[in-house]
Symmetry: C2
Subunit: 152 residues, 2 copies
DNA sequence: CAATAAGTATAGCGAAGGCTATAAATCGGC
DNA sequence: GCCGATTTATAGCCTTCGCTATACTTATTG
């Protein structure tokens, strides 16, 4: 009875909503990379006081020009700044996004572990999952974790 | 203390594993579309006895040529067959993949609901999340759900 | 203060997944 | 069985995100 019932309802009705789900998943994907880069740049600055292109590329697992290109996009979107041959920095917006992303990541990992996923697997899967966790789902995760802590 | 500790460990060590996580997430993303199409074609065949390009496109929320192109890729990958101006069909591999994907989707939705995510939100987020749920995480989800049913 | 090493940017390519516009094939009704 | 309507395919085109190769800056060091 889940997704694909009612073949004799107005077809636009159920199909539209399913299409919307896919459309949303596609949109999420478009910002996922930005989120990952921003979070990582934040991490690097916190750790080393600066974020260099080579480090970003290495941690993202991409070639250096790929990282440079992504940084250009971050700048276009107002999330980061950089001067040629100097480091990369986050704008206020970028830093705020990084914080949100980091918090969400932690919650997703914690929830996976809480329902019995091995820690290593949780870290691995969370990297992809987190971007698709909406505000509502995140709130539910955090409520669940709080509840769990209370009962411990 | 979780992901980005130890700035003075061999940098290749921790960075490599983080890069690996991103690399894996990227690979997952590459097959996600195939999974969605295959599942949907399976649904359409189950519902209507056939999967027509126009229906696939509508449900995926894309233009018809986009669906045609995706189907071409499915054929290249050995997951589907089709004859021009006739319907689209799944190979054995495609049908098996569709079944796996459908089952995983259901488990993800069920788990989200089980931890308190509203049903509508669960359906919405699951569409993106499911592709990143590995075998190990899926097994954990199912164990959790089984446990939950036992205690009910 | 060169010369070399290291880091960064630029150029150009490919694949994937969108799109619109248009051509070709099939289907239905007369 | 033909003709218009519907469906599918094809032909471009764009953007994103990978890549390699190469040019250009900055840093280092003899």
């Amino acid at each position: 009875m889940a997704p694909s019932l009612s073949p004799n309802l107005p077809p636009e009705q159920q199909s539209a909503s399913q299409a919307d789900r896919f459309t949303r998943a596609r949109e999420v994907q478009a910002v996922a990379l930005l989120e990952d880069y921003v979070e990582m740049i934040g991490d690097l600055i916190a750790e080393h006081g600066e974020a260099r292109v080579a480090d970003i590329a290495e941690r993202m697992g991409v070639a250096q020009p790929t990282a440079t290109k992504a940084i250009a996009r971050l700048k276009r979107e107002g999330l980061a700044t950089s001067r040629p041959y100097r480091g990369v920095f986050l704008t206020d917006d970028g830093a705020a996004l990084a914080d949100r992303v980091r918090a969400r990541h932690r919650s997703v990992v914690a929830l996976l572990i809480a329902v019995g996923v091995p820690e290593t697997t949780a870290e691995l899967d969370a990297e992809g999952i987190e971007h698709h966790v909406s505000e509502g789902t995140l709130a539910a995760f955090e409520a669940y974790l709080a509840q769990q802590n209370r009962n411990k």
